[in-house]
Symmetry: C2
Subunit: 252 residues, 2 copies
DNA sequence: CAGTGGTCTAGACCACCAG
DNA sequence: TGGTGGTCTAGACCACTGT
């Protein structure tokens, strides 16, 4: 057995070691991030971790309990511990897929790809993505329909270096959001919402009546420490609402 | 000493007792909710809880550690454990005070109370608050200014039974939001955001140009199991944005 | 110095679940 | 029945804070 910070000075302990429970948490969390463990996969039981990491069961238990609290895993007495479904993240007004949302309402989602081209950053787009002029990027324009009614115009700029295949994606099958979260771990998201009068092109693509305002969400996402995507999501003001609800949890 | 579910059948244990760590958590959490403990107050140390609740130190430790994770308390080795500052709640697009927001931007907040009257629910307002016709409620209309520029028209309906003094409040000093969260514990919040063309009255109160759209947030709040407040927060589209940013935390 | 939280151990009993 | 998680104990060493 190994008494922490008490045993003979035989091992390579760097004095201020990382706590054992954190080592276990990281090892599992990292395996999820690297893709070695996917949703539904089984992870070692407490007693297996006891053997693997040479810790007491309470320490293994703490690691798994905290991973569960964080929503990384789910546990069931008598069955085991498993990687959880990816978090809805939904702290706020939908980071979710518009396709999923439409389907949840029991309707049919459809997308029309107006354009998806590789470009070089000009003055405007370089500023949006905070990159140098001439940086390679993709520029996609997609209209999303709910039962043949246009509900979102998505105009997006994506760093080509982080998503080299973006130009080849079939965005009538999967959304850019879906694709990006799959290939690049989402680190940070920023949303800004404003009301605006649509320009002529937007009006046409969204089949908006004259004088009808639009709701625009500007969404920026960061991955691997860099701003990788800038999107304008424009919705018809007369048939779209963003919504969010929160129950205050007292944690007891 | 007391070995859990192991000692002599002397006590009144109802077979499926609440875990000890939860009992401790609740006792502290409840004291906060009742106001017996306020932000900054010291709470018993682990060893004091060991004595008070007749548990082992690991159990007291777990209770306090989870309260800390939940943001209820803050702990410092060598000093003690203290009630935390009230959570910003800010999971989403500002549940915060518009007054605080304006001040954080370094500007001056000012409010003009256009009206604050007690009414009986008519067909429309009864539906908004999901109450019977004739229910007593307050109806306030307030314009919020940032440096003398109107940035929000707040039209709010509040259940009179839950906030009997609402009509006497001076909303040039404190916001209705502030008042309500003080007198009624917030249980649930719902936000809906949409773009709209303001009507004449709104245009005038917000000093909006013709053809300028507005961003409207509809906010409903629940307390003690009931819908207690319905508010329309209308912002000029050309000089207001809602925003939110999230860093994804990997919890390790 | 005594008190605090941070971490850990090597046991233990229990309820649950599958074969 | 054996494995799983859920909970608990009675110790322990450590680093940190204040007096």
């Amino acid at each position: 057995m190994k008494l922490q910070r008490h045993d003979a000075p035989d091992d390579d302990a760097p004095k201020q070691a990382i706590p054992h429970y954190k080592v276990i948490k990281r090892s599992i969390s990292d395996a999820v991030k690297k893709g070695d463990l996917k949703a539904g996969d089984r992870i070692p039981s407490e007693s297996e971790l006891v053997a693997q990491f040479n810790v007491s069961r309470m320490t293994a238990n703490r690691a798994l309990r905290e991973l569960q609290a964080a929503g990384i895993i789910v546990r069931h007495a008598g069955k085991g511990s498993f990687i959880a479904e990816p978090a809805p993240i939904g702290q706020l007004i939908e980071i979710r897929n518009i396709a999923d949302e439409v389907r949840e309402r029991g309707h049919v989602w459809r997308a029309r790809v107006v354009g998806n081209d590789e470009e070089r950053a000009d003055a405007e787009t370089a500023a949006l993505l905070q990159v140098a002029l001439g940086t390679r990027l993709f520029h996609s324009v997609i209209v999303h329909y709910e039962d043949d009614m246009p509900i979102q115009l998505e105009e997006r700029f994506v760093l080509a270096s982080i998503a080299p295949d973006y130009g080849q994606c079939d965005f009538t099958q999967t959304t850019p959001n879906e694709y990006l979260t799959r290939i690049a771990p989402l680190e940070r998201v920023e949303h800004r919402v404003s009301a605006m009068m649509p320009d002529e092109r937007t009006r046409a693509l969204l089949a908006l009546a004259e004088g009808e305002p639009a709701l625009r969400m500007t969404r920026r996402t960061w991955s691997r420490g860099r701003l990788v995507s800038h999107a304008w999501l424009t919705h018809p003001g007369n048939r779209f609402e963003l919504s969010a609800a929160f129950a205050i949890d007292d944690h007891c």
